[in-house]
């Protein structure tokens, strides 16, 4: 299943509908097994596009299609539910809950719908071990930045989502950790057959990306580099 965009236009709330949209994307496809990198200068609309693709924002016009479902036609609660089942998120600043342990952070999303996270604990431990993060009783903010981003990755993968969104995932890391995270994102796409959609300027991520879209002023400035299936 692929995540596809058709005729996507978006204006901020309160903007005149006759005005040019701040984001105007004719088509994008994100397919399983690939890393799609969205790059561009600040203010070009990269993060807005990410929020539209993940259903956090509803587009003013156009479609965001997952299988036969158009996210643009879903209400907010339905999009929340879709995101919970199908998406993982990684952020520049990790956004772990600092007063929780790494394990508690990884199973956090289990509490959104259930009372207990017990049945996810084994998987969470396995993910932490896979990404080389100690299963410690210490709070998450005591970990190194690289470890914190790997905890965030483990958190994103708890429900084995088919799509992973990463917003500047290496921007807060040193070069070595940035390279590690970039490598992990590439591995996730290929080994787990995930559609990995990354917003970044990082050349390391350019190296692992299967396709790169460059945005300028809310439009695709250059044709996608790489092969679009």
């Amino acid at each position: 299943m692929r995540l596809a965009v058709h005729g996507l236009r978006h204006r901020f709330a309160g903007t005149d509908v006759a005005a040019a949209p701040m984001l105007d994307i004719a088509a994008i496809n994100a397919v399983p097994g690939e890393v799609l990198l969205i790059s561009g200068p600040s203010g070009s609309g990269k993060s807005t596009l990410l929020y539209l693709l993940s259903g956090l924002l509803k587009p003013s016009e156009g479609e965001v299609v997952w299988g036969d479902m158009d996210l643009a036609r879903l209400g907010e609660d339905a999009r929340d539910s879709w995101r919970r089942q199908n998406c993982g998120f990684v952020f520049q600043n990790f956004y772990l809950i600092s007063e929780m342990t790494p394990l508690q952070n990884v199973v956090l999303a289990a509490y959104f719908t259930g009372w207990s996270a017990a049945r996810y604990l084994d998987r969470a431990r396995h993910l932490l071990a896979e990404f080389g993060v100690p299963d410690t009783a210490r709070h998450a903010d005591t970990l190194s930045r690289g470890e914190q981003q790997r905890v965030a990755l483990a958190r994103a993968l708890l429900f084995e989502p088919p799509i992973l969104f990463a917003d500047e995932p290496t921007a807060s890391l040193d070069a070595e950790n940035g390279k590690q995270i970039a490598g992990l994102l590439g591995d996730l796409a290929r080994n787990r057959n995930m559609a990995v959609i990354v917003v970044s300027h990082d050349p390391d991520l350019m190296d692992v990306a299967d396709r790169v879209i460059r945005l300028e002023h809310g439009r695709i400035a250059a044709p996608a580099i790489g092969h679009a299936p």
């Binding site: 929020y51 907010e76 929340d80 995101r83 919970r84 007063e99 959104f112 259930g114 207990s116 958190r155």
Partner: protein, 425 residues
């Protein structure tokens, strides 16, 4: 859904600030709880202390002084009821007894009161220890007087704290009353004849053994005067019937009637230029009415204080909550529903207000107990503060207000755009 793991982390993050807020709410609630429960305890305690004092008759003067002196033993100098009125009272057909209450002496700050055995039995029921006094030199003590049976003492002339001289007669403790939870638990009761005699007054009995008036009075009062003629000549004789010619004045007389109608009748009859007759309960109602106005103001002030504190605390929490806006937006990005965020924010505020109110309830109750103990020691009657519906209503109202106010930030964050928060982070 389970909001508590996230809530716990949020509480942990600002624990010291939140603790301060909880304490602020707790103090505001404690103030209200302590005021209302203490005021009620004072009313109940004072009413219980006056329960057995049906009708008091004294010389004309302040009704309050009469009640405070005779019921609460807050003794003050009072005019004496004339012997003729006392004698007339005892001759009333519908009374069960008329007990003189003669005070003015003390021992070790315990008031010494002269009265009759019927009065003691009426107050205490069966004695807790020992026997009833049977002659001048004997006393029955209240439950809280720390004397032993058989212990002797000499009374001091004057009220506690204003004693002037030691009386020469020695008095021995022969009995102890059961606990009454009234100021009389701290009283030392001696035969009224002993009190009169100590002060150089006639002791209420003619000792020549031939007074016709005395016989008439005794018969009218229902005492079987002729059964024990030897007592008549006994200088140590105590208790009714008294001889009208040998009666001195008394500060107060407690009248126990056979029925309520009789009590009302006597009250009206003895409201004259020579005497006043009062129902202590009626005087208390007047006092409570005065207190009630102040209580109403205090309660409103307490409630207003609590609401203001809760509003102030919630305002502070809204500022704190803004620190969590990004965290809540991240939860949305990770798939949490708006309802989940709503529940977290609402519980965050409501649980803090609830913690403050519950802590305040306990603190207020503790404070009320301490104040009760202190006021009991001052007032001489037992005041027991307990939490009642009023306090629970107060706390419940505050919780309701807090929970309702908590909806404001919850709805705000429910409607707040997660993307907006993520952009600002």
């Amino acid at each position: 859904m389970n909001p508590f793991p996230v809530l716990v982390s949020m509480f942990h993050k600002q624990r010291l600030t939140l603790l301060l807020f909880v304490i602020l709410v707790a103090f505001a609630v404690a103030l209200g709880v302590a005021v209302t429960s203490q005021e009620r305890a004072l009313r109940q305690g004072s009413a219980r202390a006056a329960d057995k004092f049906e009708l008091l008759v004294g010389a004309p003067g302040s009704q309050y002084d009469l009640v405070l002196s005779a019921v609460y033993l807050r003794l003050s100098s009072m005019e004496l009821l004339s012997p003729s009125v006392f004698a007339a009272l005892m001759a009333e057909p519908e009374i069960e007894f008329a007990a003189p209450i003669a005070f003015g002496d003390s021992v070790d700050a315990y008031p010494v009161v002269g009265s009759i055995a019927e009065f003691i039995t009426y107050l205490s029921g069966p004695l807790a220890q020992g026997d009833m006094f049977a002659r001048h030199g004997e006393a029955v003590i209240g439950a809280d007087v720390p004397y032993r049976l058989g212990q002797s003492f000499r009374t001091l002339h004057g009220m506690p704290g204003a004693e002037t001289e030691v009386h020469e007669h020695e008095i021995a403790v022969v009995g102890r009353m059961a606990q009454t939870y009234t100021p009389w638990d701290r009283a030392i009761i001696i035969p009224v004849e002993a009190m009169w005699e100590t002060h150089g007054l006639p002791d209420g009995h003619l000792h020549d053994g031939a007074d016709e008036d005395h016989d008439d009075l005794a018969e009218t009062a229902g005492y079987d005067h002729d059964e024990d003629p030897e007592d008549h000549a006994d200088a140590d004789r105590i208790g009714p019937p008294f001889d009208a010619e040998a009666l001195p004045g008394v500060p107060a007389v407690l009248v126990k009637t056979s029925n309520l109608a009789a009590a009302y009748g006597l009250r009206n009859k003895y409201r004259t230029s020579e005497s006043q007759a009062v129902f202590p309960a009626e005087i208390l109602v007047q006092l409570y009415a005065l207190m009630g106005d102040a209580r109403g103001i205090l309660q409103w002030l307490a409630l207003a204080t609590q609401v203001l504190v809760v509003v102030a605390v919630l305002s502070g929490l809204v500022v704190i909550q803004q620190l969590h806006t990004t965290r809540l937006a991240i939860l949305r990005a990770l798939g949490a529903s708006r309802a989940y965020v709503f529940v977290i924010v609402w519980l965050y505020f409501t649980l803090l207000v609830a913690a403050g109110t519950v802590l305040g309830l306990l603190l207020g109750y503790g404070a009320a107990l301490l104040v009760s103990a202190y006021v009991s020691s001052l007032a001489g009657f037992t005041i027991t503060a307990i939490l009642g519906p009023q306090e629970f209503l107060l706390v419940g109202s505050l919780l309701f207000v807090g929970a309702a106010l908590a909806l404001v930030p919850a709805v705000f964050l429910f409607r707040h755009s997660a993307v907006e928060a993520l952009r600002q982070s």
